[in-house]
């Protein structure tokens, strides 16, 4: 486990060398700026509700781009062989890559702090919901990264990894939201299912509500995907 920080460091610095990361950064900031423009209007409550609420949709597409290469590239380039013939365990690799990608995601979020500064200049700002919103974003980001890492560990192809990640994120985030829009037509059982969707849990954070149940949900699902990734990497030996 002690080697995870070394691997995380390499992943983060690796992002700054790759054009893909700049594409992700651009898409993310464009989307964020677009949503913020609606928050940053006279008469609107001083907050980042729009940014936080809508950001999740952008993340469904941005995070897969960040994560598609995490393992797929190692498989494709063969570097996985040098990696695992150094005294490094599967858990080191998975944690390192997870921390690296989540760390870069945090870097992605950093420029949006400027919005907070802008709002503060023009209004009396309630920081509670902002902090809660960022916590929610980081938790969702980490969950999405763990899904992306898992999909990336399954294939040598970055494209396949990205598409698979978007598909999974669609099922756990967008699909429940869409179903909920037609909740009246759903059976009681389906209504319950949609309430467990990622979006539903996430919006509470942007309202400023930190529900420990939601925190546990995000952390647990993230842990499950990381655990599955470790198992996928271990399974390579039994082929």
């Amino acid at each position: 486990m002690t080697r995870a920080p070394t691997i995380a460091r390499r992943e983060i610095s690796g992002y700054f060398y790759s054009p893909i990361a700049y594409v992700a950064l651009t898409v993310f900031l464009l989307a964020a700026g677009f949503f913020f423009q609606r928050d940053f209007e006279p008469g609107q409550p001083a907050g980042l509700r729009n940014v936080f609420d809508q950001m999740v949709w952008a993340l469904v597409f941005v995070v897969p781009i960040l994560c598609m290469g995490l393992m797929a590239q190692e498989w494709a380039a063969g570097t996985v062989e040098t990696l695992f013939t150094a005294p490094v365990g599967e858990t080191d690799v998975v944690l390192g890559k997870f921390l690296g990608a989540t760390g870069f995601f945090a870097v992605l979020l950093a420029p949006t702090l400027l919005y907070v500064v802008l709002l503060r200049l023009y209004s009396r700002l309630d920081f509670g919901p902002i902090v809660a919103g960022y916590l929610g974003l980081v938790l969702v980001g980490a969950l999405f990264v763990s899904v992306g890492l898992f999909c990336s560990s399954l294939t040598r192809s970055q494209v396949v990894a990205a598409v698979a990640t978007v598909a999974v994120l669609f099922v756990i985030t967008i699909a429940p939201y869409l179903l909920q829009q037609n909740a009246s037509q759903l059976s009681a059982r389906w209504r319950t299912v949609t309430e467990y969707g990622v979006y539903n849990r996430y919006v509470d954070f942007s309202k400023g509500v930190v529900d420990s149940g939601h925190v546990v949900f995000f952390l647990a699902v993230t842990a499950v995907f990381l655990f599955l990734t470790v198992k996928v990497l271990e399974a390579r030996r039994w082929k």
Binding site: T2, R3, T6, I7, R10, G14, Y17, S18, A77, G78, T79, V80, E81, T82, F84, T85, A86, P87, V88, G89, R237, W238, K239
Partner: protein, 325 residues
């Protein structure tokens, strides 16, 4: 020191490596030879703990590759076949990352990085991005990585592929220098490399060890004796019967149309290959026979069997067996 016993790897019903056993004593440089698909890389991947064996086992530096794989990997320098590297990193940066992965203390890490950069002739490329380096330069970055932690055992999968002739000589000299302190196992297709560098060769084919020994031993082994080539002007049949009657000669073969040998009918000269019984030099007797018959003689020489021929022979025999089985 590497000790392999009954090591086997099965991919489904196919045995890529079939119960092989061999030893590499401490400080020895061993060449691991075999045609493509012989199981070289699979064996090496098991020894480097990348793949687990299906059955059998091995120890590297005294540690079991299955139960003590962490210890094995700490004591092993490994250069994989295609020399995979992170192409977006600079060479020095990459070595630093590898040193950190191996938990080398900072001072030692810096010192070793400078040492291996110098040792692998990387000084001019150390601060370039690996993706911009040539195949040979990358190969040396891989080699530097394998040497970084000063491992007791080095396993190099085709270390000179992609190098130019000068670099090949330099890298071979480097590997030769490493012998003694380090135990080195290198796989290669290039037979002169084995003769130039290795104390011993292990030849595998069809997942089995088909021969092992020093290059000299292999060349001198019973299946590949030296032969005497005689080029003289006479009827092929007369040459065959006269030389066949010389004491100590086992068989005579008339070569024709071989490159370097004039065909028998062009100017009347024929080339006969004379194989003698074990360890008997028949050149004098052969020469006497030729002069007694008053055949004009152009050449008589002892031809040493090359390791190539030996290699082709043992691996071909294995292939025939496999088809028959």
């Amino acid at each position: 020191m590497i000790s392999v016993s009954q090591l086997t790897k099965a991919y489904g019903p196919v045995l890529a490596v079939d119960h092989i056993s061999f030893e590499v004593p401490k400080g020895q440089i061993v060449g691991f030879l075999g045609p493509n698909g012989a199981g070289k890389s699979t064996t090496i991947r098991m020894l480097s703990c990348y793949l687990p064996p299906t059955s059998g086992g091995a120890t590297v530096n005294g540690f079991d590759i299955f139960h003590e794989s962490g210890k094995v990997r700490e004591n092993l320098g490994y250069l994989p076949e295609s020399c995979p590297l992170y192409t977006e990193m600079k060479a020095r940066e990459y070595l630093d990352y590898r040193g950190r992965l191996r938990k080398m203390p900072r001072d030692e890490r810096r010192k070793r990085i400078e040492y291996v950069i110098d040792r692998c002739y990387l000084t001019r490329f150390a601060d370039r991005v690996i993706g911009h380096l040539s195949k040979g330069q990358r190969q040396r970055v891989g080699l530097a990585d394998a040497l970084l932690h000063n491992p007791a055992v080095l396993i190099l999968d085709e270390p000179t592929v992609g190098l130019d002739p000068t670099q090949i000589i330099e890298v071979r000299r480097l590997i030769k220098d490493l012998g003694g302190d380090h135990t080195v196992m290198l796989s290669t297709h290039i037979l002169p490399e084995v003769e130039a560098v290795c104390d011993r060769a292990i030849i595998i084919a069809g997942g089995r060890v088909v021969a092992q020994g020093s290059p000299d031993e292999l060349r001198a082994s019973r299946r590949m004796q030296a032969r005497v080539l005689v080029e003289c002007k006479a009827a092929p049949d007369a040459v065959r019967s006269a030389l066949g009657a010389v004491a100590g000669v086992r068989d005579v073969e008339i070569l024709d149309g071989h490159p370097g040998h004039a065909p028998a009918d062009a100017d009347g000269f024929v080339t006969a290959a004379v194989r003698s019984e074990e360890s008997r030099d028949v050149r004098e007797e052969v020469a006497r026979t030729v002069t007694q018959n008053r055949w004009p003689l152009r050449e008589i020489r002892l031809e040493q069997a090359t390791l190539e021929e030996f290699f082709v022979r043992v691996t071909a025999a294995q292939a025939t067996q496999a088809v028959g089985a």
